[in-house]
């Protein structure tokens, strides 16, 4: 399955290059696509899916992925929740993410859409809200998501301590500090995944 995803990513890279020759010149998308399927992202998304699967302990529900990028998080969740009784929605405010996510992960029963999580008023229908892009989002928006959700809805959030990127506006020094910042009523899991150049932190709770 991994090689099939990587093959689709290669074909998408080819498509971006072809488009740059005769249409929209946006070659940086190539680098972005490569990053989205690299080892770090693959492992950190899988880490979340594996851990949430054990804690959630149900087959059915509706998952909302905020800042879902090109769809890797949604795909990893679908690998654990294989039945149709789990509905998975992956949203990102960048419209190109929706377009490319359909190309990378079509056929996996995932719904990709273009939406800014801050404009979502009602989270009551979701049984879990997943966000592995917390380092790119304002802290008050993370708190807002948690306040808007149903008390029984799970949250599974990841951030990191990689402060050197200008797009990383919400990094934390430790998983514990990140967990405390979210002000959850119930914390089920707090841990760190050590990657090559930085640490990724994950908090799961309600």
């Amino acid at each position: 399955m991994q090689s099939k995803i990587l093959y689709k990513a290669l074909k998408l890279v080819e498509e971006v290059y072809d488009e740059s020759m005769y249409g929209v010149d946006d070659l940086y998308r190539i680098k972005d696509i490569v990053h989205s399927v690299d080892k770090n992202h693959w492992e950190s998304k899988k880490w979340l899916a594996d851990t949430l699967f054990d804690l959630y302990n149900h087959n059915a529900g509706k998952f909302y992925i905020a800042g879902g990028w090109y769809g890797m998080m949604a795909y990893q969740l679908r690998q654990k929740w294989i039945g149709r009784e789990m509905n998975i929605i992956s949203a990102d405010c960048d419209p190109i993410c929706e377009e490319y996510a359909w190309k990378l992960f079509d056929g996996h029963d995932i719904s990709f859409k273009t939406a800014d999580v801050n404009n979502e008023e009602d989270f009551s229908e979701y049984t879990a809200i997943i966000n592995t892009s917390c380092e790119h989002m304002e802290q008050e928006d993370l708190i807002s998501i948690i306040k808007k959700k149903d008390p029984q809805t799970w949250i599974a959030f990841q951030t990191n301590d990689y402060i050197d990127l200008n797009s990383h506006i919400n990094c934390w020094p430790t998983a514990k500090f990140f967990a405390e910042s979210l002000q959850l009523d119930f914390v089920a899991y707090v841990d760190t995944l050590q990657l090559k150049d930085f640490n990724r932190f994950m908090v799961i709770g309600k």
Binding site: S20, D25, L27, Y28, D32, D92, C93, D94, P95, I96, T114, D116, H136, E138, L165, N166, S167, I169, N170
Partner: protein, 205 residues
Amino acid sequence: MNIICVKFGTKYGPEFVNKLFTDLNRCDNFYCYTDDSNGLDKGITVIPDMGRPTLKVWWNKLRMFDKNFPLSGKTLFLDLDVKINNSSEHLYVCWNKITFIDCHWKQGKLYNRLSNYDVKMNSSMITWDADNPEVHKIWEHFNTGFRDYYLRKYKGIDRFIVHEDFEYNTFSHEYIQSKKYQPDIDYDPIIITFEELPVAIKDLI
């Protein structure tokens, strides 16, 4: 004319702002847009951090093009690591468009490559009319669903402005000396820039 600098983060301390203020004859209309006004000279008008969206370091320069930014009329921006060599009173600018430095010293095919995002302009000195709606479009364009993508794609605002196809003028070459690329010149520039060179306050005296 407003004169403004932007100080975010800890790379440049208040002494850089105060030096710029002094070199510009402590003019009345000197502004500093900053997240930390400690240590700034009392004659400097502080524009505090306008908040969301949170931006890091030089990306905060784009905020000056927000139509809600509290400045009106002709405005001159200077980076904190430029050396004032000559009075800005000698500056002649066409105010119909935003104006940047033309990095005419950047030569070669490298800068014309499709995959090369480096550009031949520089935002160490900028002039614009703060009431010009065309300038406000820069900030508006940045604040779409693509903002996070732009922050990944472009190293800084220069590349964002060029590659997102905004129109701009450039200053007369005689206004600027690039210390790195033009160590010897035969004219008297208004400012000296230190692109990519580390700058200490003593370099600006």
